[in-house]
Structures are given as C-alpha cells and as structure tokens.
C-alpha cells in the first residue's frame, strides 16, 4: 500500500496551524475570568458574567484610559478543567490578571497556577479558609469573604437573641462542615443535633420528620443552590415554617428566590450585602443590572462587579498597566474604589474587613418576594484565619 502522503501532510498542516499565530503585542488590558458557565451550576456563573459585563459598561470598556478585554472561561465545576483554562488564559491569551471562580476546590487548584505565573488572582466568590490563613498569598485578593464569616454572623445573631435548642443541618462536605464550625464559633447555646446529609440530596422528608420529632426551637441550615430550593420547599410543605423559625446561610438568595417565591417568606439569612443596600454604588449597580438584564442581581454578581472595579483601581494607579505585579499589589491593598458594600479595608490576608447583616425574605420588590436587611450584626468583621497568614504589609 502506498503511503498516503496527503494524510501525512494534513496532519502536519493541522499541527502547524495549531501553533501559529501567537497573540500580537497589544495595547490592551486583558482579564481572564473563570467561572462555571455550563451545567446546573451555570446560573451562578451567569450572574457573575453579567455583572462583569455591567462593570465594563460602567467603566466605558476602559481601565485607566486603556481598552480592556475580558476573556471568560468555563471550569465545568472541575478543578482540573479550571487549571487547564487558567493555563490557557495565562500562556495562550497572555492575560494580565485573573479573576472569578465560584468553588473552593477550583480556586485552590488555580491560585498556585496564577501566582506561579507571576500574576495576581482576584477571587470573586470562593472563600476557602486555607487561602485566608496558612496558604494566603500576596498575589491573591478576595472581593468576597471567608466561608466562615457568614455563618459566624448568623451564630452571633442567634446568640444575641438568646435562641436555644437549635437543630443544625448541612450537606456532608467540606463547606458544610466549615459553615457549621463558623456558626458554632459565635453561637454558644444548646444544639439539639447536627445532621449532615448526602451532597446533592433531593428529598429531605426523612430528615424533616426526625427534626420535628426532636422539637427544636430553631433550625439553622446551609443548603446552597438546588439543595436549598428543595429543603426550603419541603420544610414549608411539612408545615414547619410557622412553627419553627428557619435560619440559613447561602440558601435563599437572588439565584434561588425565583424558584422559591412565597415559600421563602420569613426566611432569615445572614450576608454582607443585599440588593436593598443603601450604598450609592450598590443602588446604581442593582438598578442598571435590572435594566440591562431584566432580573435582580445576587451577591455573586455584586462581588464580581467589585472585582472588576478593584482591578480598575490598580490599573488607574499604575498608569494603565498591570505589568508591575508588586505595584499592582500595593495599589490593590488600598481598596481604593466605590465598592457595592461601601468603603472597606483589606485585612493583612487580602480579605475584606466588612459588615454583616441579618436579612429576611419579605413581600415586595419587582419579583414579589425579596431579601431585605433587618439589622447589622457585625461591624468591620475580620475572618478567623488571618492570624495564620504570615503576610506582612
């Protein structure tokens, strides 16, 4: 059989094409933004992506006078894919800075890649504790929070209210255990029982039956995403809404409210931000977001919006360039921008020192039910890990 030269040639051409055309030198700020865009978790990614786009609109698609381009990447909720996307952005697209990321496991896998390449990572959601403590890094900034802070706020509120006999529930995975630990750091009352359920579980009727039999005075849960929708619906259907108050973190927010509607009424949440926040930057963000995308933004989006503003502040401070990483870090530490949470300071571990509020789902707003701030729980709250962070500045 003769050698099919054409086939060899085709393979060779394909290979050459793949390697050709490296990005030409650009007069542009390039930001790599990783989030989960596909699959069931893609709803959070959408909130984040839309907020980034709104931030770019507000900035006139320029940072410090230089045109800016954001390259979005989909981590598919998998750490190894996240690493691959990050490598692609850093090495192929040669981005100047990285941002985004919803999940702790993706974040912890990606941060070493970004810092190893000498760039800065601006995390806009994942709040893994190691990154706030032992594994903190001068090239890593967060515009969100540490995982434990939100349940700490709820713990403090319930402690202050003198609520006793609390029934605690969370999925049996790391974030679930972190949330419960954070809650217990500030809540010192009696805990009836701690229940950890299967991650991704749909039906909670068995657990709810057990709960009712124990007769607690209050229930504290952490059920993000679909789990939260299911738990809250089933809790209400079991007739417990009026009988045992339900307190939660990361369970009822603007990503799940459209599916819960009046089932959410009366739910207590703790959070650093809410769409009804009386801060001018936040009100502008919420109003313009609703106008442009036709739905109410969530804290996932607000943090990502802040992430872009933080990057913008660094570009402005450094005359339209992110090339000098040391200088970028120095200017980011000032947090010199109009944050949606109002003015705030960075802690030594590059995590915000910020207020936390008690929220409640009430009737009102364009969607019928909305989260409204009830009271401030924490003033300038620092996370519980910053002492483990060896950074000095």
């Amino acid at each position: 059989m003769p050698i099919p030269i054409r086939m060899l040639a085709a393979v060779a051409t394909a290979a050459t094409l793949a390697f050709a055309l490296p990005a030409a030198a650009q007069q542009k700020i390039k930001i790599g933004f990783i989030t989960t865009l596909s699959g069931p978790a893609g709803v959070i990614g959408k909130h984040m992506k839309d907020s980034v786009e709104l931030a770019l609109d507000h900035l006139g698609h320029k940072m410090g006078g230089v045109p800016v381009e954001v390259i979005f990447g989909d981590d598919q909720f998998k750490p190894d894919v996240g690493v691959q996307v990050a490598e692609e952005m850093l090495k192929k697209h040669q981005v100047d800075i990285m941002s985004g990321i919803i999940w702790s496991h993706v974040m912890m896998a990606v941060v070493p890649v970004v810092t190893g390449a000498g760039k800065v990572m601006v995390g806009t959601n994942a709040g893994a504790s190691p990154l706030a403590g032992k594994a903190c890094h001068e090239q890593y900034f967060s515009t969100s929070w540490n995982n434990d802070q939100t349940p700490e706020a709820m713990g403090k509120f319930m402690q202050e209210q003198g609520i006793n006999d609390v029934y605690v529930m969370a999925p049996n995975y790391q974030a679930g255990k972190d949330m419960v630990a954070g809650f217990k750091r500030f809540y010192k009352g009696r805990i009836v029982e701690e229940i950890f359920t299967k991650p991704g579980q749909q039906d909670y009727q068995a657990e709810i039956t057990q709960l009712r039999a124990k007769g607690p005075k209050a229930v504290f849960v952490f059920y993000p995403g679909g789990m939260g929708i299911q738990f809250v619906k089933q809790y209400v259907q079991a007739g417990l809404r009026e009988r045992i108050p339900l307190y939660s973190v990361f369970t009822v927010d603007e990503t799940t409210l459209p599916a819960l509607k009046e089932s959410a009424l009366g739910q207590y949440e703790a959070k650093f931000w809410s769409p009804d926040m009386k801060v001018p930057a936040s009100q502008k963000y919420v109003a313009d977001f609703r106008k442009k995308f036709g739905y109410t933004p969530s804290f996932y989006g607000a943090q990502s919006y802040d992430g872009m503003l933080l990057i913008d502040s660094a570009v402005r401070a450094n005359k339209g360039s992110l090339a000098n990483t040391k200088a970028v870090i120095a200017s980011m530490r000032k947090a010199d921008f109009d944050s949606i949470r109002g003015p705030f300071k960075y802690n030594v571990n590059h995590h915000p020192i910020q207020d936390f509020f008690l929220l409640r789902a009430v009737k009102g707003g364009p969607d019928g039910v909305e989260m409204r701030i009830q009271k401030k729980v924490f003033d300038d709250h620092k996370d519980s890990y910053y002492q483990d962070c060896k950074m000095k500045w």
């Binding site: 893609g42 959408k46 068995a206 679909g226 929708i229």
Partner: protein, 307 residues
C-alpha cells in the same frame, strides 16, 4: 425511637420508593421490550417537569397543565425515539449507553437555552396543600400522600395493561419474538415508538410530580437517574415487578438509613466516629445494597425471562 416516628419514616420511604418506581417502570419497560438502555430517561423526567411548569402558567389551571405536560413528554419521547434511538435497538449496550449519554448533555443544555439556568418555580393548587392525619398524632403532607396514591394507581394500571389488554399482549409478544409479531402483520416499529412514548410519559409524570418538592433545574434528571438504575438492577432489569420491589426496597432502605443509621451506630462506636461514619455510610447504603444483591443474584431479584 417511637413507633409513630418509625411509621412516618416508613411512609417517607414508601413515598420516595413510589417516585423511584415511576421512573424505574418506564426505564425497565423500554429495556425489557426493546432491549434499550436509556440513560436519557432522566432527561425526559426533566422535560416533563419543565413542560408542566410552562403549561400550568399558560393555561392557569393545574390539571390542564399536568395533562399538557404529560402529552408533551409523550410527544418528545416519541420524537426522540424516531430520530435518535430507533437505530440503537440493534446495537450493543455500550453504544446505547454512550449515545444516550450524549443525549443527556444535549437536553440539559437545550433546557438551559430555552428556560435559562435559574431553577423554576412550581406552585401547588390550594387543594393539594395542607396535611392529613393518617394515624392519630402523625401529620403528613397531603401532596406526598397524593404522590403515593398516584404511584400505586399507575402501578396497578401498568400491571393491568401489560397482563390483561391486547396492547399488553402485543408488547409481551414483541419482547419475546419480534419477527413473529411482525409476521403477524403488526407494525412493530410503531409499537416500539408507542411503548417508548409511554415510558417517557411515566418519566414525565415522575418529573412533574417532583416539581413542587424538588428543584426544577437543568440536570435535575441525573440526580435521580443513578438511583433509578440501582433500583432496576436490584429488581432485575426488564421486570415491572422487580422495578416495584426494587423501588420500595431502595426507598425504604435509603430513608431509614438517613434517619436511623447514625443513632444506631452510636450504640456500637464512639459518638464522634458515628458522627463521621453515619452520613458517609448512609449515602453509600443503596450502592452497598446493590453490590450485595448482585453478588448473591447476578441477575437481580426478579430476572426477566429473556426471549
């Protein structure tokens, strides 16, 4: 552990089992008759839930919405059968698994494009809300009781159709000897399409009943699908009776495991160890059960007589 508590948990297990059964029945029917492994069965469950949500909104009437949702899923099922699955009957299980895996990706994304990724809201009419007292001192959500009732009625109907009607006779005949039925002048292709459509409608029924309790979101089918496969493997693939027994066993074992495993372990090992092992073991329980059943009976509890 009071008797009432155990009774309620058994009821919960029964209800979960019924939900699994509706899914398992369609899946096992399609397997038993067309010899098709359909991973995309969970997608039809999702389609059922989404179509019903939209139809209820559109008509403003719950029952009309349910009817439209069921018909819609039936139609989607038949369409999928004609376009994609028909050619798979003659293929081996490997091809079927892979092709229907591809369909899962397609359906999840299609739903996300049409309805968005945000979970949808599905309300219940007032007459399905509230509680009933089954035995004194034990209140139970009315809707879940209705789910149990619907499941049992569907199970009975299915048994009646398969064993007592002409359609059922054709189905059984088609399963055991395809050529012979075709030779008798029966349009076997049409028969298969109809059977697949009904399997899809059963999945759709499960999906629309799941809507008010679970989250209606893209990918909702896969969460239940793997458990349904556990059910039909335990029961014996292709056997409706096996699906029923398997569903109830899995539903009850899973529910009781979640409710009582941790306190039970606490009697034997230290509380912190039970705290850690209980939930982990509870989430693996149905898989352990399946491994146990298959190591004793490699063809499940009720092996279908192969044709």
């Amino acid at each position: 552990m009071t008797t009432i508590l155990v009774f309620e948990q058994l009821l919960n297990g029964l209800q979960f089992g019924v939900m699994l059964f509706l899914m398992a029945a369609g899946l096992t029917l399609v397997f038993g008759i067309m010899n098709l492994v359909n991973l995309a069965h969970g997608s039809l469950y999702m389609v059922g839930a989404y179509l019903t949500v939209s139809a209820v909104q559109w008509t403003g009437n719950y029952l009309a919405g349910v009817a439209l949702g069921l018909l819609g899923t039936l139609a989607v099922g038949m369409l999928v059968e004609v376009i994609a699955l028909r050619t798979l009957y003659e293929r081996d299980h490997l091809d079927q698994v892979l092709a229907t895996f591809g369909l899962i990706l397609f359906f999840n994304e299609l739903i996300a494009i049409i309805w968005g990724r945000t979970a949808l809201y599905m309300s219940l009419p007032a007459w399905l809300q509230g509680h009933i007292e089954i035995i004194p001192g034990s209140i139970y959500p009315l809707y879940r009781a209705v789910v149990i009732g619907v499941g049992l009625v569907v199970g009975a109907l299915l048994w009646f159709v398969v064993t007592r009607t002409r359609l059922g006779m054709l189905i059984r005949a088609g399963a055991s000897n395809r050529t012979m039925v075709a030779a008798l002048g029966i349009n076997i292709r049409l028969l298969y399409t109809v059977v697949f459509g009904f399997g899809a409608a059963l999945a759709g029924l499960a999906g629309l009943m799941a809507g008010p309790i679970y989250a209606v979101q893209p990918g909702m089918g896969e969460l239940i699908l793997i458990q349904v496969f556990v059910v039909i493997v335990i029961g014996g693939i292709g056997s409706i009776r096996g699906a029923l027994v398997g569903s109830l066993v899995v539903g009850v074992v899973d529910t009781l495991g979640r409710a009582f495993l941790k306190p039970l372990l606490g009697h034997f090992i230290s509380p912190p160890a039970a705290e850690a092992a209980g939930p982990a073991l509870a989430s693996m329980l149905i898989y352990l059960l399946m491994a146990l059943v298959l190591s004793l009976r490699p063809e499940g509890l009720f092996p279908a007589k192969s044709g």
